[in-house]
Subunit: 307 residues, 2 copies
Amino acid sequence: MDTGTFTSKDLLDKLFDNGILFETGVDGLYGRSGMFEEVIERFERLVTRLGAVDKPTRIHFPPGMNRATLEKSGYMKSFPQLAGCVHSFMGGERDHAKLLGMMDAGQDWTELQQPTELALTPAACYPLYPTVAARGPVPMDGLLFELSSYCFRHEPSQDPARMQLFRMREFVCIGTADHVHAFRQSWLERGKAMVESLELPCELDLANDPFFGRGGKMLANNQRDQGLKFELLIPVSSQEKPTACLSFNYHQDHFGQTWGLKFADGSLCHSACVGFGLERVALALFRHHGPDVNAWPPAVRAVLWDA
Amino acid sequence: MDTGTFTSKDLLDKLFDNGILFETGVDGLYGRSGMFEEVIERFERLVTRLGAVDKPTRIHFPPGMNRATLEKSGYMKSFPQLAGCVHSFMGGERDHAKLLGMMDAGQDWTELQQPTELALTPAACYPLYPTVAARGPVPMDGLLFELSSYCFRHEPSQDPARMQLFRMREFVCIGTADHVHAFRQSWLERGKAMVESLELPCELDLANDPFFGRGGKMLANNQRDQGLKFELLIPVSSQEKPTACLSFNYHQDHFGQTWGLKFADGSLCHSACVGFGLERVALALFRHHGPDVNAWPPAVRAVLWDA
């Protein structure tokens, strides 16, 4: 909780020591204190306030989604290592006895489970596209949604800014290329001004997603060359490698093609989103302003508490 | 959305038609409208207000928990059919190519995944007990927590009141048998008065958990004979079989024994909890007061919006 150099693990220990996060025995999986939650709630209201001028339609999806939807989205092609699927026991009493026996013997009993229809949601917007496509043609002046969801990514880490289960708030714009570009540009500016109003050091940077494997390197280079992804970076667990707390993504017509998102004239929709990593922003605030929210700078408190 | 008799599926279709819930293609897995979310948020604030007099400590856990904790809790003995575990792909590029080939061929590729350390949280309080035990002895005047969590239960259904992923708010009391009994008794009264203030028909009833298998029948009977579980029932998808929207549970010293929750003198702690099924309460409100929250009875709006 000081501004000096420290390791991720140091920061995590400080968060535990100050009762801001609680250990569960699994890296990247933590309980959150009431104060941590209040900071997240206040920040969410700030985001909603800043976005209200555009009159987004709010939808909330649960932390799990239709696995078939995730498969069709192409996620398993690009990020197979991050996905999570839900398996459940569907056997009878004899299988149950076997399961308990294996558990008692310290064996891996999970093989007695079957895959369910659910996968965990990797980003708030994945369940949105088929929901919009089912409504019919997209109006020419586009659609704007405000989403929030718990998300899962299987990347166990002792960096508190890299949780396996975390919340993302997102605005998603679906429309023409020009329209969604303008949307993203406006949030590049609004997002940076918002984080600066919280007195957090930040910088915008070109970025790429963590595509899997050797083929993924090419995808990452393409993404950078075309300027499809920007991130707003804030030092959280490292000064040298600041953390992406907001991301600004232009999907071209990828989701339009995948889900048949079209205008009435049959042309494909483009889409863009801006995502706010809620735990990351809260961690950045505790990291830079200290463990006691009552001692945070008055201007920061005013933005989060008084507005 | 009328008070007549209808089937669960009728209610679900009306919720879709009114844009209150959104289909995902999986029974028990739905998107929620902004208005649905606002009702849940307002109800959560009401619960928090009613509980504030007892000064609970708020903790939030994510929708997944340490699988080892779930195993140790005994959940797989009693409710194996409801649990969900998270599996992820952990292979290399060759395995990934195989995965994509299986997916293209419409085969079950999920067997290429491995179990992770995470299980989905079945009730908000499961991750709490080991967290409290790690703090050392429980003070003689007990502990009180306010929790909220997304929970998972694998029971696909077209009854909108039986979702696979839903939110639960909980107060959990840990202390002497007398103390936790008094806590539960006070919430039996406060909970009923709260639901009546929302002009919802309700009745308290003795209940039991859905224990698995033939042995489960005996456990259910024991639970009823000892009066360990009560539910506050509200007609949601059926008049004849009203839905448990609040539950009031006395665990005796089950979690005390399991997790070594003790007072300084070494005696075991008892525990009790009251759980609020947030989606179920919201559905009850839409079911009885109609799809347009602006047309809800003024007294109900006053409790949720003006307080």
